[in-house]
Symmetry: C2
Subunit: 237 residues, 2 copies
Amino acid sequence: MGAPYGFELVENCVICKLRSDSFFCSLPKATLEAFDRIKYTASYPAGAVLFVEGQSPRGIYMLCKGRVKLSTTSAEGKTLILKIAQPGEVLGMHATVSGTPYEITAETGQPCQLNFVKREDFLNFLQKHGDACLKAAQHLSKDCQTAYQQIRSLGLSHSAPERLARLLLEWTAASPDQREPKVKLALTHEEIAQIIGTSRETVTRVLADFRKRQIAVLKGSTLTIRNKPILEKLVGA
Amino acid sequence: MGAPYGFELVENCVICKLRSDSFFCSLPKATLEAFDRIKYTASYPAGAVLFVEGQSPRGIYMLCKGRVKLSTTSAEGKTLILKIAQPGEVLGMHATVSGTPYEITAETGQPCQLNFVKREDFLNFLQKHGDACLKAAQHLSKDCQTAYQQIRSLGLSHSAPERLARLLLEWTAASPDQREPKVKLALTHEEIAQIIGTSRETVTRVLADFRKRQIAVLKGSTLTIRNKPILEKLVGA
DNA sequence: AACGTGTGGTGACCAACGTCACAGGGAGGG
DNA sequence: CCCTCCCTGTGACGTTGGTCACCACACGTT
């Protein structure tokens, strides 16, 4: 197998080094071998659409490498980004497990390696391997939680600055406790707007305001938090 | 065991007649017996709080009878209703499975019968019984889906009438295809507002408008849809 | 160099809706 | 019976932020 998108494909799950503890496929050896037998490894370029909301579920995509944008679109063409999936996540599990159509759209944001598993195979796999099933349940729980978090953000905050502040804090939450945390992210104002459910112009304006007030500066793809306490005050915490 | 809240407690899951196919506890006999051994049956009055967001998870509550309001509250006291849980649902499963604090608050809206299962017992139960674990995963999937639906409603619709229309359609979706569907619900305008993330006054005004335009009439606790096509047009479908 | 395209930055305008304030009505309790 | 809540209904007002229109800049292509 070559390297079509600039990286080597890892074909064998059992010896895969991409995996870390938080990965769905962080499983005991026997279970992992069973998973390895039913999956199809593939790589995709940036901008590839894995599935579209409304399609009936073909199966799950295990994200090994890269980022995938999960979104949903209204009839008028307005789109809302639900999350940017990180390596280790399983995409399309809700639809696959419950048998209802995919309710979201998944699109790669950069070259990705993914393992696809057919719905039938995946369900059999879960049935036979209790440990994997429990892991799947944990995975789904986490998805629910981030969904609830977004509902809170959308439903409970009145102003756009508040939602943006919440998002910035979320991003820095992962990074350790520095005085001026920096975060790398490759998102346009447009995409940020789609995450917090507002318009592109508003994001630009609020970011300009944050810059002026020395709260946070977004330069290129680097975000620097200058004054975390004020951000925290903005979200009403 | 008496009847403290106007109904008999069903203590034995195996012979329970409340259960229908959609219930989480619609399980094979052997599994059901195992569930029966670890659960504690209890009944609660209206307004009882089962758990509060932020608490560490004690376990799950299987809702046998009654309605439970699931909500989340902001620091300023504004609350958002995530859903009204129906009999057959399991409450607090996300937190219990993932081990993170309850992210929502559960409060009975009427006298309820519930089965409580301790976290440890429940996890053991899932581990031992693959069929139950799969069922749990399905349950979580459905929760995710309704969460995503609410995110769509909150993030993708610009106007309050649109969100309210969407909610009304959701309620009638369950009832069969009548020309003028009627739905029973015991919700105040305030609560409706908390579901669609708007203010009480706006709900009153929009409902008044719907009444005037002969689209939908809410009288007492009975909602009658007069003109479904217009509602559907309002949501932009 | 000229051109297209995607992104960021800004001003002006206006509808939607949150908020405040208050009034009427129904239910339950003393 | 009156009193007190809670719910519903409605008017007035002010702010937020969505929308439109336009410009500047960067980058890649022809």
